[in-house]
């Protein structure tokens, strides 16, 4: 017990022994331990940053952020070790603070873009290749940088958007979800069988591979319009293909409806000249029509539409 106490006292006295001026062996040892620890922590943190950002941001950006984190850690370590070496950074820190204030004031927007860029990387509202709309600009995300995000519009135009603007804007990401829905409004004649039209449309949708089976497409009579029975068609498709499906299916539906003798009517207007409506005629065409007959028989026919207007 006594031997142990002596050893500790001897140890303490060694650590307190001055090395250079007021710097003792203990101070040196503490500084070295802090610097070595800082080095290890900086390495670990940079690896963590790289791993966390892997696949989320471009490699250049993640490398830059990892280096930034590493150098910031070095700085903190050096500042923490400096009192043990009796290095007074207070003057330097004050000067640095003033310099940093001046720089930050001068590059306020740059810094805000940088911070917004970092936040965007973590929040990830968009990814490279996504189809987005931001501030009225629509297109594909080409790159998400530290300071700005670049977009290639549908017409191939390069657009650079500062990250601060990206961060504070409403962003619509059309492909963030794996699937999306699109709608058609299709009008058919009042004389057509809506049930048959719905069956024809559903048959065409069923044949299209990318018109998803589930959620099931829905086709229904949405409105009895002025000139047509309006059908609503709602279809889900994979986000990556929805536009192709939309453009492809519309024409196929039209062709199938026409093949089934279901037509899309012209807009019509029936005028009455302040006199009694003509009596219904049994012979049909050429002898006057009731509105019911017009709607029921011939609204898609231009020549008959003219007769009605006359």
């Amino acid at each position: 017990m006594a031997d142990n106490t002596t050893a500790i006292l001897v140890g303490n006295s060694f650590l307190d022994t001055p090395l250079f001026g007021a710097i003792t062996y203990g101070n040196l040892l503490a500084a070295i331990l802090i610097l070595v620890g800082t080095y290890v922590v900086a390495k670990v943190l940079s690896v963590i940053v790289m791993r966390v950002l892997a696949g989320k941001v471009e490699v250049n950006n993640s490398t830059f952020l990892a280096k930034l984190v590493r150098w910031l850690t070095y700085f903190v370590g050096i500042v923490a070790a400096s009192p043990f070496l009796h290095i007074d950074f207070s003057g330097l820190i004050v000067a640095g603070g003033i310099l940093a204030f001046a720089i930050s004031f001068a590059s306020q927007s740059t810094l805000s873009n940088f911070v917004a860029g970092v936040l965007l990387m973590f929040e990830r509202p968009v990814g490279v290749g996504d189809n987005i709309s931001v501030n009225g600009t629509e297109g594909y995300v080409e790159d998400i940088g530290i300071l700005s995000t670049t977009i290639r519009t549908y017409s191939g135009i390069f657009v650079r958007i500062p990250n601060e603007s990206m961060f504070t804007s409403d962003i619509t990401n059309y492909v963030a979800h794996i699937a999306r829905r699109f709608d058609y409004d299709i009008g058919i004649r009042y004389s057509d069988d809506a049930d048959k039209a719905i069956k024809v449309i559903k048959g065409i949708i069923e044949k299209h591979p990318y018109a998803l089976k589930n959620p099931a497409p829905s086709v229904y009579v949405d409105e009895l319009g002025n000139n047509s029975i309006n059908l609503k068609v709602r279809i889900w498709a994979p986000s990556a293909f929805w536009w192709d499906v939309r453009t492809d299916l519309l024409w196929k539906i039209f062709q199938a409806l026409r093949k089934a003798d279901i037509d899309i009517p012209f807009p019509q207007l029936t005028l009455w000249y302040g006199q009694e409506p003509p009596k219904p005629a049994k012979t049909g065409k050429g002898s006057g029509f009731t509105p019911q007959e017009v709607l029921g028989k011939s609204e898609s026919s231009p020549e008959n539409a003219v007769k009605v207007i006359k």
């Binding site: 794996i178 069923e206 044949k207 591979p209 990318y210 998803l212 089976k213 889900w236």
Partner: protein, 277 residues
């Protein structure tokens, strides 16, 4: 023509491996496609599918037609073989998804119960070239089946699946081996509640296809954890002896020992956590 088919499976409440002999229709009345490994200048003319490789001035020329759907490929190879194997139905018209979904009539399974069912799945036909050194690559994929996709789960966190509907069979049914394959699905309810299962979602890596002169088949296990959650895992074994393993379009990676902590997950598994019916 009926014949006995020995299939390894487990059944009943207690999981005990046993050999069950199924009566099954061998489908001898059906014209079946001949899969296998052939000389490189092989030619096929089958049910509207024509496929041939010709040698023209040192260059091989691959031609394939199925209806109006045609492919023409020039191949530079010094001999070798052509492999025509069934492949998983996840490549046409586009490699959109890694998941196949099979819907079937719902089955209620008692707690701790096990049942084995057979369902059908669409298949595609892969044409591979094997160089004299043994290196293989796929050159063409063709299918008699019209594809259809679906969504398992919601649009926000679901997955797009290659969709197929099937009847439930308790024995292997006869089928055209160029249109459909057979999936042997062993369903085990590990939960303490009754579960209803009406679909299986299988990850591409879990589809290990085997074929013989009558069948294209794969096996999978579904372990029900709760009435709404199940893990579906591919099983790399044939449903009967003598079947040949299909060439795969990708190689499965080796598993990390830490990956299979639960004993149920591996890289062929998919956790169906968005409903079983």
């Amino acid at each position: 023509m009926n014949m006995a088919l020995k299939i390894l499976h487990s059944g009943g409440r207690k999981k005990e491996k046993e050999t069950v002999t199924y009566e099954h229709d061998n489908g001898s009345d059906l014209k079946q496609f001949g899969y296998g490994r052939f000389p490189i200048d092989y030619a096929v003319n089958f049910e509207g599918l024509t496929l041939a490789v010709d040698l023209d001035r040192g260059m091989y020329h691959y031609r394939r037609a199925l209806g109006d759907w045609k492919t023409d490929i020039n191949i530079s190879v010094n001999g070798g073989h052509m492999l025509i194997h069934p492949v998983e139905p996840l490549n046409l018209p586009d490699n959109l998804t890694d998941f196949m979904e099979i819907r079937f009539d719902p089955i209620k399974i008692e707690p701790s119960g096990i049942c084995v069912i057979f369902v059908t799945m669409p298949i595609e036909i892969g044409v591979f070239l094997e160089s004299p050194s043994g290196s293989t690559d796929v050159i063409d994929i063709v299918s008699y089946v019209y594809p259809k996709y679906s969504l398992y789960g919601g649009a926000n966190r679901g997955v797009v699946t290659r969709f197929n509907e099937s009847k439930v069979y308790y024995y292997p049914p006869a089928m055209k081996n160029y249109e459909a394959g057979l999936l042997k699905l062993e369903i085990e309810n590990r939960s303490d509640e009754w579960a209803t299962v009406g679909r299986a979602v299988i990850f591409q890596k879990g589809l290990f296809l085997y074929f013989d002169e009558n069948f294209v088949a794969a096996s999978a296990e579904m372990k029900i954890i709760s009435p709404d959650v199940a893990v579906v895992t591919g099983v790399d074994t044939p449903i009967r002896q003598g079947m040949t393993r299909s060439n795969r379009l990708f190689k499965s990676r080796k598993l990390s020992p830490f990956y299979n902590v639960t004993g149920m997950l591996n890289d062929t598994a998919y956790t169906m956590d968005m409903g079983l019916i």
